[in-house]
């Protein structure tokens, strides 16, 4: 008899406790972040698409267009082109495009880069209306990021500049080869003379 009443009272009390929990949750703020109307701050370890690092010393990218990333990408999504501009020691990238729609975020391109020119971005708002929206031109993106950071944007070399640079490089190479040949010929002549 007593257990009957005790059961009722204990059961009723547990119901009230449950309702107290629910009403407490009702008054808490929601945890949903309403994408795309609200922005989220991603952690620094977030792996977004690979992008060019802005070197703090030169305020521009470090890519030397060696095409290692292009060769190692398992889905062949990176397309790099570059030439050596007259007066500079190394090649510079003139086109850096990667097609993000098949990227598996494996990170091989970031790992293999000899100048560590690539990093993972924190961009998660990647929705678009066409497939072409997922093709990222990194030199343009670099300009936008530099402007956002208050740095001066690195100009993207135009076709004429590239052609001129390539021609200048070809001419310089020819000049060097001619000089080398002349030196070799000059070195051979005295040797022949001595022999005779």
């Amino acid at each position: 008899m007593m257990t009957y009443f005790k059961e009722i009272l204990v059961g009723f009390w547990s119901l009230l406790m449950g309702m107290a929990v629910t009403i407490r949750y009702f008054t808490k703020p929601i945890v949903t972040v309403q994408y795309p109307r609200e922005k989220i701050q991603m952690s620094p370890a977030y792996r977004g698409y690979p992008q060019l690092i802005i070197d703090p010393e030169t305020q521009t990218h470090k890519c030397i267009a060696c095409e290692m990333c292009s060769r190692i990408c398992p889905s062949q999504l990176i397309h790099v082109e570059g030439t050596k501009f007259p007066g500079e020691k190394q090649k510079r990238a003139t086109k850096y495009v990667h097609e993000h729609y098949y990227c598996s975020l494996c990170g091989l391109c970031t790992e293999v880069c000899p100048t560590t020119a690539l990093e993972y971005s924190a961009e998660y708002r990647l929705a678009g209306f066409k497939r072409e929206d997922a093709v990222i031109d990194h030199l343009i993106l670099l300009q936008e990021r530099q402007k956002a950071a208050g740095l001066s944007p690195t100009p993207v070399p135009t076709a004429e500049e590239i052609a001129a640079a390539a021609a200048a490089e070809a001419a310089a190479k020819e000049a060097r080869e001619k000089e080398a040949k002349a030196k070799a010929a000059a070195a051979k002549k005295p040797a022949e003379e001595v022999k005779e």
Binding site: Y25, K28, V31
Partner: protein
């Protein structure tokens, strides 16, 4: 002019009241569905509908338009007359109970002297409609849902009626206006808290709301007795459930919370506040408790609620005799 004089003031009052009731039922359903989704969402720490209209206010309208555009599929072997009639029979009696509810001191369509009995009688007709829906659907899961619903409704009618009887004993009349008038000094919830608790539990079971929603158990019986109904017919079942919630909360407000009584605001406003507070309570139950198993449900009704309600009735009678 002739027609109006022929109808008389009673007739005009009836027509105006019916139009108002139909408007109220539609607006109420719209509001309640939005409120249910928002309450559910905030209890689960999420925002609920936010897209259509400010904070999802027009979401229900969008859903209603979608339901109206759906094809009314009628399965082959159904019992046609009963299948077509079931949604109507589930909805109309609930609509009729609005006749006797006192929204304010003068706002009542027809103040019958069998007020509360009328409401209880018409609420029981929904059981018949659910049985019709389940049987006519020619689907064994619908029949299971319908039979469970009948057992549940009948089992919980008894403590409901006995609890209401203890209140009627104190007032001495079935008229709802008399019941509200008798709560001048103290609301009856203070005099009979046990009756209030029992009434709310039975009301939740009568409207087939969680934790007693086995008949429409979404995860167990597909959709229970209304599995085979699509489009606007399904919407009618839904509408009937939310209107029934309004009715049982209105009756609770009248019986226990003093109806339209309240200090500064007009009677109607207080009445609606009380009704919607009780509806919030019923929704609060839904998002707190898991569904009861069928044997637990029936045990709870017959072994706990009925004895308690009879004890309450006896104590009330004793107290009335002594004081």
């Amino acid at each position: 002019m002739d027609l109006l004089t022929h109808l008389g003031i009673e007739g005009v009052r009836m027509i105006v009241g019916l139009v108002a009731v139909i408007a109220l039922v539609s607006v109420n359903a719209l509001f309640l569905i939005w409120m249910e989704r928002k309450v559910a969402a905030h209890m689960q720490l999420r925002p609920g509908p936010m897209e259509v209209g400010p904070h999802g206010a027009i979401q229900t309208v969008a859903d209603a338009v979608k339901l109206m555009g759906k094809e009314l599929i009628t399965p082959e072997e159904v019992d046609r007359p009963i299948y077509y009639l079931a949604p109507i029979v589930v909805f109309l009696p609930v609509l009729l109970t609005f006749l006797v509810i006192p929204f304010s001191q003068t706002w009542i369509i027809k103040d019958m002297n069998v007020g509360i009995v009328l409401i209880l009688a018409f609420s029981t007709l929904t059981v018949l409609a659910i049985l019709m829906a389940g049987w006519a659907s020619n689907n064994k899961y619908s029949v299971f849902g319908a039979l469970r619903s009948v057992a549940q409704n009948i089992a919980y009618e008894i403590p409901l009626l006995v609890t209401v009887m203890s209140i009627i004993l104190m007032v001495g009349s079935f008229k709802l206006t008399d019941i509200v008038a008798a709560q001048g000094r103290y609301w009856f919830i203070l005099l009979q808290p046990l009756a209030f608790i029992l009434y709310i539990i039975c009301a939740t079971a009568e409207t087939n709301r969680t934790p007693f929603d086995l008949p429409e158990a979404e995860s167990e019986l597909v959709a229970g007795f209304h599995t085979e109904y699509s489009g606007m017919r399904f919407a009618l079942f839904f509408l009937a459930e939310y209107t029934n919630m309004f009715i049982v909360s209105a009756v609770a407000a009248v019986l226990f919370l003093g109806g339209w009584r309240g200090p500064i605001l007009p009677g109607v406003v207080w009445f609606l506040i009380k009704v919607y507070a009780l509806i919030f309570l019923i929704m609060w139950f839904r998002w707190t408790f898991p569904r009861v198993r069928f044997d637990q449900l029936v045990t709870f009704a017959w072994k706990i609620l009925i004895p308690l309600s009879f004890v309450n009735l006896l104590l009330t009678a004793l107290a009335l005799k002594i004081f």
